[in-house]
């Protein structure tokens, strides 16, 4: 019985540790994924996926990261950022500001703007 109790306690600690790590692990402020075909999507918390807007507003707390995962077969530019085919890149933004550039993965616009504030 003691052994079962110990195992249960250990399991509980592992589960709690796993949950804390999962919930507190630093995530990118913006997670952009480009599937084959080249139309980028934003993956938000709780598995929500939305189309790429023309302007993405990022909260400036800390140093926000923009992650681009390119699952397409060609290099894509998204504003100042880019990712080669198959590449995942993190861009860390240093300061509040507006970052605009050409976008090759947008459904309706040729430019993409990130506003950090």
């Amino acid at each position: 019985m003691t052994r079962v109790k110990r195992a249960a306690q250990l399991m509980a600690v592992v589960l709690v540790t796993g949950a804390v790590v999962t919930l507190s692990w630093p995530r990118p402020a913006v997670d952009i994924r480009i599937p084959p075909g080249g139309l980028a999507q934003i993956h938000r918390s709780f598995w929500r996926v939305t189309a790429l807007p023309e302007t993405i507003v990022v909260a400036a707390g800390g140093r926000p990261r923009v992650r681009i995962s390119n699952g397409d077969t060609v290099t894509h530019r998204l504003g100042l950022f880019s990712a080669s085919a198959g590449e995942t890149v993190d861009y860390t933004l240093p300061q509040p500001g507006t970052y605009t550039g050409a976008c090759s993965a947008h459904p309706t616009s040729e430019t993409l703007t990130f506003v950090v504030r």
Partner: protein, 195 residues
């Protein structure tokens, strides 16, 4: 109870290690690129016939900016930021390679690009390649540019990416600096590489 306490300590230690590994290396002041990207070398023929390679040189980081000499706004402002960065670096600036690469080789001959960069500082290097070299280096840095018609055929503007790039002495693209973000971040990151 003793076992629970031991397990809790182990859990805390695991969290500490994981938190430590998540912190990573110190951050750059510019827009950080993670993982740093390898940039291939390109060769440009200069006005005197010599060839300049962008291949990395030991101990010498490189700042790269793409522009054109007819640019009315972004290019002069960026190269003025470079002059401020160079002044702030003092003697260390001599180890930095400052490369201005033309995205308008039709109008910017090597001599024109060299003279334009030298207007700002005698150590700034203006480069203008043939169309294949220009397209290749723009692709390597994923820099977009396209012509916008002007009043006459020869008077066109070129819309181009406005950030400049920091490449370390192993040829890895480490950071970028958005247009008009000033010289401070550039100076801090260059000083880090020049240590």
């Amino acid at each position: 109870m003793r076992h629970l306490s031991r397990a809790l300590r182990a859990g805390a230690a695991a969290l500490f290690v994981l938190a430590g590994s998540a912190c990573g290396e110190p951050q750059w002041r510019g827009i950080t690129i993670d993982p740093a990207r390898d940039v291939p070398a390109f060769r440009f023929v200069q006005s005197d016939g010599d060839t300049l390679s962008t291949a990395p040189e030991d101990g010498r980081p490189t700042l790269v900016f793409f522009g054109y000499t007819h640019c009315p706004d972004v290019c002069p402002v960026t190269l003025a930021d470079w002059t401020r960065a160079k002044a702030a670096l003092g003697d260390q600036a001599n180890r930095v390679r400052w490369l201005f690469v033309s995205v308008d080789p039709a109008r910017d001959t090597p001599a024109v690009a060299e003279a334009y960069a030298r207007q700002f500082d005698s150590t700034f290097v203006g480069l203008s390649g043939d169309s294949a070299t220009t397209a290749g280096i723009q692709r390597a840095f994923t820099v977009a540019s396209y012509e916008t018609p002007g009043a006459t055929d020869a008077d066109y503007l070129v819309t181009h990416a406005s950030q400049c790039f920091l490449v370390d002495d192993t040829g890895k693209l480490r950071a970028m600096y958005a247009f008009n973000s000033g010289a401070d971040a550039m100076v801090a990151d260059l000083q880090r590489l020049l240590r």
